[in-house]
Amino acid sequence: MCCHGCRAAAEWIEQLGLGDYYSLRTEPATKPDPADAADRNGCLAWQRDELAEHVVRDLGEGRRETMLFVEGIRCTACVWLIERSLQSLSGVATVQVNALARRARITWIDRQVSLSQILERLARTGYRAWPLHAKALDDLRRHEARDALKRLVVAGFGAMQAMMFAAALYLRGADALDASADALFRWLGFIVATPVVLYSAAPFFKAARRSLAARRLSMDVPVAAAIALIYAASLFEALRGGGHVYFDSVSMFVFFLLAGRYLEMRARHHAGDLVDALARLTPSVADRRRQDHSLERVGVHELRAGDRVHVGEGGLVPADGVLLSATCRVDEALVSGESAPIVRRCGDVLIAGSVLVDGPVDLQVERVGADTVLAGIANLVERAQVERPQLARAGEQATGRFVVRVLSLTVLTAAVWSVIDPSRAFAAALAVLVVSCPCAFALAVPAVITRALTVLAQCGVLVVKPDAIAALAQISHVVFDKTGTLTMPRLTDVETFNDASPERALRLAAALARESSHPLARAIAAACHEVALPAAAQVSSKAGLGITGIVEGRELKLGSSRFVAPDRHWPSHADAILLADPTGVIAAFHLSEQLRPGMREVIDQLKEQGLQLHILSGDAPAKVADVAAKLDIANWRARVSPAEKLSELVTMRAQGARVLVVGDGVNDAPVLAGADVGVALASGAEIARASSDIVLAGERLSALVTARRIARESMAVIQQNHRWALLYNLAAMPLAALGLVPPWLAALGMSFSSLCVIGNALRIGRKGSTVTAPAPPPLHATPRAA
């Protein structure tokens, strides 16, 4: 089992007693559907290495990975089908399909199977798949949106016209039209309903056929069956020249279904845009060394094999290359999923997309291409998206069970009525099929999650892991890191020793400090306005203590007094950052901290929501106490190492607290990863963002208040949706089974119930003023002077 989704799928298949199907299926010869020639050629093209290298990533040991865009995923059953059908292919290691983004991540062993074989298998299963290219994706999205809009409008026009002609039939009693006029209006209904059924409803039939061919039941099966039954029965009645025709019902049914699907598709495309936005958060640039060892910033695509690249602490490795510096630790979680940092020594290979945990390093580029920074980060986000939220997984299982029950109830109804009154059997069975609304169940969670993701993204809250929405609604404690999160450090004073000038000391310190992503280091680097800083060599850093390196031939240390001068006591400089060379301390940098603007209001609002607030900081007690007093936070601890923070977190969680951690630094990464919800600032270290569940763009912590409110709202709406779907189905199905609901009313009821669920989800974030709108794009709305 590659993921929970597969387990859920397998359990469901077992429940249906369909488990044997897949054991039969592992024999490739049992499914000899010939793919058409054009498709096959398209697949074979990917055997060429030149083409494949842009989309395939080598995971080493013959394992390869690619991301496919799969056209035609309609519902979660397709996901199971694709996962199972590919996993039966020998050599395919893992398959993860994201129905929402329509993407499949596949890893396989190169000797046993090839990308073209995988694509061919997918084509035979009935899905066209493309290895992912950003541009191709955009075009497909546009194609899909246009197609859906056309089908929707045809169904809308058709439904309106069919209704009009049906009205003439319903009202005929008063006007006493003759039999030929009756026939005329029936056939007119047929004319306008036919394009609706054959064109607009075609996707339902296609999906149902595919799902039946795979011997499984998706949401589309009862829908397609209902449409076909109503249409065929009406046509039969029209030919026979009597009875009731339901051309208006079937058109309306299709129209409302398509309206729901259209809204869902729009939300899904928005979510896709969100992924793109997250991928763009990280600039795809690298620092390349020139001949004279100075650095230049270049686009990752400009890198060539043989280039020397410099990577700062907490930065991403831009391309595959050989380590030139002595030693470093890297986190290859993005690439291998292994989260513990790995030590690499001079001559070892660094993999693109991995995060440098300590020490800036140089490396020699060996490979570029699909293994870029962008690919790495996008990878992370997409992997997070493929991990479907637990809520959604539970919803899918419920939907699957529900469809089975509906179909059995339909058969039962038909059987019972054919004994009691055969003439009403058809109408009653049809009503059961139509009135039951698996869509309301199926849409209850995804509609809410996509809506919540979109609203949150608009407020600058980028949710990397969708599970975070549920977790965010339940948090009870908030833990803040101080430096860089609550406060922004600023250099106020430079004190020098040994007759060094402050400018010179600052220059040396800045040369070293810019190698680190720590907020204090960044403040020192930012305070030096000199452009041409000397290069620092052999830089290495110790998280939470300081940084060492060689600048202009002098071996320098920059950091807290504990780190720089452990043998001497510096009572007056406990909070200062010291710069020293082997002969002694050169300068002390005094930094003052300012609260981030609006922080007090954020804290007050969080308290109003009933949250317990804590500060855990590695900083000196006096400073932490000062900030805590200003913000009126009673619980704080100072001088806490990352490991202590983590153990504190474990203690809190053991006591039943649901903890949200806000941080931005490299040293916050383990705490962020260990929290129920980790929130990182977009400006923070990459590793912090990589280990977090939520990224705050634009550094506005006020968005956190909004985010929690929206998360709670979402959870409430999900509950409402589930209750509504249950209530509606429990109320409507018995009535339909008793033959009390005419099919047209059933169609209206089903569509109404789906639209209620979607409409309810769209309510999230609509409550007006409390949602802080993001800064609008820079439009020049001020009138120009004439």
């Binding site: 246009r146 056309k150 794009p777």
Partner: protein, 59 residues
């Protein structure tokens, strides 16, 4: 009744024309982006703006 015999085919014809026009509009990208065009009138920087500016700043 005779009026109906004329108006109904006329209605169907208009319907076909409307659907045809809509398909044409969709295929020509009229519905691809429903958000951005609404903001465009707010943008004061017109396409001819760069041509104006050098004249204003000319000595």
């Amino acid at each position: 009744m005779n009026a109906v015999l004329i108006t109904i085919p006329l209605a169907l014809l208009l319907l076909a024309l409307a659907v045809g026009a809509f398909f044409w509009a969709v295929d020509h990208g009229q519905f691809d982006d429903l958000n951005t065009p609404g903001l465009l009138p707010l943008d004061e920087v017109q396409k001819d703006a760069p041509r104006d500016d050098p004249e204003d700043s000319a000595p």
